[in-house]
Symmetry: C2
Subunit: 213 residues, 2 copies
């Protein structure tokens, strides 16, 4: 398998965590978002949406969207699973993943921030307000869910799909100055994940296209 992605892309990071938790080997081909490579013809033939990540399967099929890629990995390599066995717990894991992917991340990503700054004249105060309201608000909702479902991780005491989404979201939130200080459960899980070898392997700073700041 080959993963096309970008070191600091939240969605790529989710897939890297899932691959690492499942112990799967893969090739990695960086797509430099700052250079616009995701809009180049080579990449668009693999992924017509021009977004990262994309997974090329061993059979040469291309799969887009991080959660669809993770679903494919579960189908094609079911053991070890990163989904809880029990249907309601599994639904809760997916619900947390969706809350992050649909309510938090879309308002925080690079292209949205660039648009707000350049085309809507958002200054730093407006940008911080925007990020805290939308992405931060969604994360506060996830904190409430995890208070009901979590243990050491988002669902009980085992890393799952939910943690694959939470960790990149926390990473981005801290990077962009979103105030997550009141989200005690999410912070505790994030700190725990930092020490887990699969999450460590998947960390943006440990990717071949990482740039020293």
């Amino acid at each position: 398998m080959k993963l096309f992605g970008y070191w600091r892309s939240s969605a790529t990071y989710r897939v890297r965590i899932a691959l690492a938790l499942k112990g799967l080997d893969y090739d990695y081909e960086p797509v430099n978002l700052l250079k616009g490579e995701q809009k180049g013809s080579a990449y668009l033939t693999r992924n017509p949406t021009g977004l990262v990540p994309t997974l090329e399967t061993d059979d040469g099929d291309f799969i887009t969207q991080s959660l669809a890629i993770i679903g494919y990995l579960e189908d094609s390599h079911p053991a070890p699973t990163i989904l809880p066995d029990e249907p309601v717990a599994r639904a809760h894991a997916l619900s947390i993943a969706m809350s992050i992917a649909c309510e938090a991340q879309p308002f925080m990503n690079l292209r949205m921030q660039k648009y707000l700054k350049t085309e809507r004249n958002f200054n730093d105060i407006a940008m911080t307000d925007w990020l805290n309201r939308w992405s931060g608000g969604a994360m506060a909702a996830v904190e409430k869910i995890v208070t009901q479902t979590g243990g050491d991780y988002c669902i009980g005491d085992t890393p799952s799909l939910a943690d694959c989404c939470l960790v990149p979201q926390m990473f981005g939130a801290l990077r962009f100055g979103i105030d997550v200080s009141a989200m005690l459960r999410l912070n505790a899980i994030y700190e725990r994940c930092q020490k887990h070898p699969a999450f460590e392997k998947a960390h943006p700073d440990h990717q071949p296209d990482a740039v020293q700041q």
Copy 2:
């Protein structure tokens, strides 16, 4: 089972289509978004995120997020499935669903439009530009995917999870004046779905809380 939702909520509409395609009976309890009932204490005990829909299972568990609810329905009532059997086709169905849920719908929903109008002073021109750029742009990407994967429906000739997401997105796009005229495949699938009994049953206008315009 009981579904808590709102007739014109895109996410609730997705779940209604899935329930109808699977032939499942359920009770329906309206949550009036215009009256803010989703932020009331009664609803928040069921869904701390304050969003619709929520599914109450036969065992009294509450599941949030439309795609997590549909995943639960697949797990708990696998036949008939609304996911393709083949893993790559299944991934493509999930990818289309995620493109709509993460890239198109978040920028079109009521609370975002209300915020842009009241707190960012978007006039009609700015609002139309916003909707076409973000939601419309994501739908144009879905059109490209469906050109590769679709037949009578988004994935081949059988309705799937992808169509559960496409139809509410098209309904909302047309309602809000997003220009989808160039998306020929999506329009054709949307028209076909309008004549399918499951999609007809799930239509907003056919819900008990529908309001005549």
